[in-house]
């Protein structure tokens, strides 16, 4: 079990709603961004003079540009339906991690400066001035929100705390109070092309290695091309896929699927990142600038289609925002949606019977599936609502014999975040990550106990990294989290690949 200098939550047999413990997470905050990282993104390097005034002005600016913020600041009636829905509240018991209380940190300032009631009767309506303490609370608690939108599912007005977290982070960035993790990473994308800062030659090297591995394993020459012009498909995938387990097994799977489909494809060293941390910091400008690299790569490489690899919030930005940010995509093949998810691509091939999948090759595992929050509640796959739940499950069922879902209340649109989303996947937030994972791990534990589940599949780079890191805190193994396309890769028998049985038959003859 991993060592922790905080108390790791207990996994209970039945999910419990904890009593509030005010202030228990008040100390939790991520490292502040350095001036260099801030300035690269167009933000002031450090806390500006006159920061109260500038923050209020920024709030006013955002209120005029985002209807979500405008409406959500007014509409909350404090009904409490969201109070027991956030995984960070359930895992930490800190009442400021209840969605409504998190929103109120911003709302009380909104009321003070932007509403008549708050100007005249601040005490009555819970309005306060923007003080240093309030700013401190903003920084700490808006970095205990993974923007997973679970609260918005249950809110009678659809109030989405993610929208408010994003606005709060943008206000803080605008006065020079940024988060190191997100802002440093966005800078890396601008400089090098991906979150991990892997340069082109390193990518080429990795991909060559993958080709060799796949050849050794299957005897088939599956290509993992980089920067190849004039091909059909540009694959945009999270950079973790080039680098870490179990992500890279997913990338191997994508390559095999493309190979079997007989399509030509390429990765881009310029746009070598699916993730878009511009969303986490609520910055339209940065989100657009990161996305622009994909458009530029697609034009330069002359591709006809764009497919995204397994990444949760990347898929949100891709599916929901890409057309808005850097569209229109009229220069691509109009027969395909732009962009497509790799799961949509694989699912179509399975439907057409073009993939030969031997499920027994995954018989060493009993699977469950974790719906990644941003895929589940902020995107879609296929042409029917809910395809984002059904398509990945259909792929898993086509690749494995043993699959069980976790408790209904913790999957599909009610899924729990892994605890590391929204820009919190950093070691300086380990406590909140471990505690925030508790509801998901608890549901996982149930199916481990009751169904003998051994592995959990996911389609998000953050989920995979987060679980790899936090499962050991709960006495589980980091290898229990797998990629969906890793399962496909295991089960897929490539054309021309000799299987063991066939070899045995040949030897006998």
């Amino acid at each position: 079990m991993a060592k922790a200098d905080f108390q790791v939550p207990e996994l209970k047999e039945y999910a419990e709603i904890p009593e509030i413990k005010p202030g228990v997470m008040a100390h939790s905050k991520p490292f502040k961004s350095k001036p260099d990282f801030q300035e690269a993104l167009g933000f002031p390097g450090e806390l500006v003079e006159d920061w109260q005034k500038k923050a209020i002005n920024k709030m006013g600016d955002l209120l005029g540009r985002y209807r979500s913020l405008r409406v959500y600041m007014d509409a909350c009636v404090k009904c409490g339906a969201c109070t027991d829905k956030c995984h960070y509240y359930l895992g930490t018991h800190d009442p400021k991690n209840m969605p409504v209380a998190r929103q109120d940190l911003l709302r009380k300032v909104y009321r003070r400066y932007f509403t008549l009631a708050g100007r005249l009767f601040p005490d009555l309506v819970g309005a306060t001035d923007l003080t240093e303490d309030v700013l401190g609370d903003w920084y700490n608690y808006y970095h205990q929100c993974s923007q997973c939108r679970r609260c918005s599912v249950f809110c009678p007005y659809g109030i989405d705390t993610a929208e408010i977290s994003m606005a709060a982070r943008e206000i803080m960035d605008s006065i020079g109070v940024g988060q190191k993790y997100c802002n440093e990473i966005i800078g890396k994308v601008y400089k090098i092309g991906n979150n991990l800062g892997l340069p082109g030659p390193a990518l080429a090297d990795t991909l060559e290695g993958l080709e060799e591995d796949v050849f050794d394993e299957t005897g088939v020459e599956v290509k993992y091309p980089l920067d190849q012009e004039g091909v059909d498909i540009l694959l945009i995938t999270p950079s973790a896929d080039f680098f870490a387990e179990p992500h890279v097994d997913g990338l191997i799977g994508y390559g095999k699927v493309f190979h079997e489909a007989g399509v030509s494809w390429t990765l881009s060293s310029y746009a070598s990142e699916a993730a878009n941390f511009g969303m986490f910091i609520g910055s339209y400008d940065n989100m657009r600038r990161v996305s622009m690299r994909i458009r530029e790569a697609a034009i330069k490489l002359g591709v006809k289609r764009i497919v995204f690899g397994e990444c949760g919030h990347a898929w949100r930005v891709a599916y929901s925002f890409l057309n808005t940010l850097v569209g229109p995509w009229d220069f691509l093949d109009p027969r395909y949606p732009v962009p497509q998810h790799i799961c949509e691509f694989t699912y179509d091939l399975i439907q057409q019977g073009k993939l030969r999948l031997d499920k027994s090759r995954n018989d060493d595992m009993v699977l469950t599936y974790h719906d990644s929050c941003n895929v589940a509640r902020a995107s879609r796959m296929g042409d029917k609502p809910g395809g984002q739940f059904d398509i990945p499950r259909a792929i898993i069922r086509a690749s494995c014999n043993h699959f069980y879902d976790m408790d209904e209340e913790t999957i599909r649109d009610r899924t729990f975040c892994c605890g590391g989303g929204g820009g919190l996947l950093t070691d300086d937030l380990m406590e909140v990550r471990v505690k925030g994972a508790q509801p998901r791990v608890e549901a996982l534990n149930h199916v481990i106990q009751e169904k003998g589940v051994t592995h959990m599949a996911a389609i998000c780079a953050i989920c995979k990294s987060q679980f790899t890191k936090v499962l050991p805190y709960y006495g589980m193994d980091m290898g229990q989290i797998v990629s969906v396309h890793q399962l496909v890769s295991n089960a897929l028998i490539l054309t021309g690949q000799e299987t063991e049985e066939e070899e045995a038959v040949e030897a006998a003859a």
């Binding site: 709603i17 009593e19 509030i20 209120l63 540009r65 985002y66 209807r67 979500s68 405008r70 409406v71 007014d74 509409a75 909350c76 404090k78 009904c79 409490g80 339906a81 969201c82 109070t83 027991d84 829905k85 009442p95 209840m98 409504v100 209380a101 109120d104 009631a117 005490d123 009555l124 309506v125 819970g126 939108r149 918005s152 599912v153 249950f154 809110c155 009678p156 007005y157 659809g158 109030i159 989405d160 929208e163 339209y284 657009r288 599916y319 929901s320 925002f321 057309n323 808005t324 949606p337 732009v338 509640r377 902020a378 995107s379 879609r380 029917k384 609502p385 984002q388 739940f389 649109d413």
Partner: protein
């Protein structure tokens, strides 16, 4: 007596002005603020008619709240549906002649009044006994509940305990349409009832009661899930492209 009648006449002119003007301003503000990104909470409808259906379920059945918390749902639905019946029942004091459907709904308005008070009571109890809800409640949350309960109770009192001269009341409001101030029956319970209702009208556009228009403008609920098919772009975002 004319002092009281005058006061109430001007109070209701003022309250109506604030309610309608304030709401119109807010609706205008919501409507003109762009929603730059597609953010429906998915799974979401892929067509406009699907969105109308989703919104209808939210407005009429409180679908999301039902999934969120059954107790809050049952109390708030009782309150809101009760309030609807009560409002419909009250229309007869403002319309002449009274249309047949309104006549038929009269007895249900009474049950509505009771349901409203019971629902409000349940919601209020939660603010004291559920620690999470107690934590998020501010004084204004209690005051608004108190105001609504007092409106309900004073109304029910006039139905069951001390009746008022409803004919003269109706004449008073009919007079207001023509800017004539007719004498209002000076029953204390009625005056209290009317004072509270006018207060409610005045605070409506300045309080959380804005959830009513707000719901219709909530992008997570009212957007069509079709970002790949149709490019959605706000005017301010479009300007970035021209730079």
């Amino acid at each position: 007596m004319s002092l009281i009648s005058n006061f109430y006449a001007y109070l209701f002119y003022f309250a109506t002005f604030v309610l309608l003007g304030g709401l119109a301003l807010k609706v205008w503000q919501y409507a003109r603020t762009p929603a730059p990104l597609k953010i429906p909470t998915t799974p979401a409808p892929t067509t406009g008619s699907g969105v109308v259906l989703r919104m209808t379920r939210e407005v009429v059945l409180f679908e999301s709240l039902f999934r969120g918390n059954k107790w809050t749902w049952i109390f708030s639905w009782m309150f809101h549906f009760g309030l609807l019946l009560v409002t419909l029942r009250h229309l007869r004091y403002f319309i002449d002649p009274v249309p047949v459907p309104l006549q038929m709904i009269q007895p249900f308005g009474i049950y509505g009044g009771m349901a409203m008070v019971v629902g409000l009571g349940g919601l209020w109890v939660r603010r004291f006994f559920v620690d999470r809800v107690r934590y998020i409640s501010s004084r204004s949350d209690h005051l608004i509940l108190g105001l609504l309960v007092a409106i309900g109770l004073s109304g029910l009192t006039m139905r069951f305990v001390v009746h008022t001269d409803i004919i003269r009341l109706k004449e008073f409001f009919a007079g207001l349409y023509n800017f004539e101030i007719v004498t209002l029956p000076a029953d204390p319970v009625l005056l209290l009832h009317l004072l509270l209702v006018a207060t409610l009208m005045i605070i409506f556009p300045y309080s959380k009661l804005l959830h009513m228009p707000g719901l219709f403008f909530s992008p997570t609920r009212n957007q069509v899930d079709n970002p790949r098919e149709q490019r959605h772009i706000a005017p301010w975002a479009k300007r970035l492209e021209q730079e």
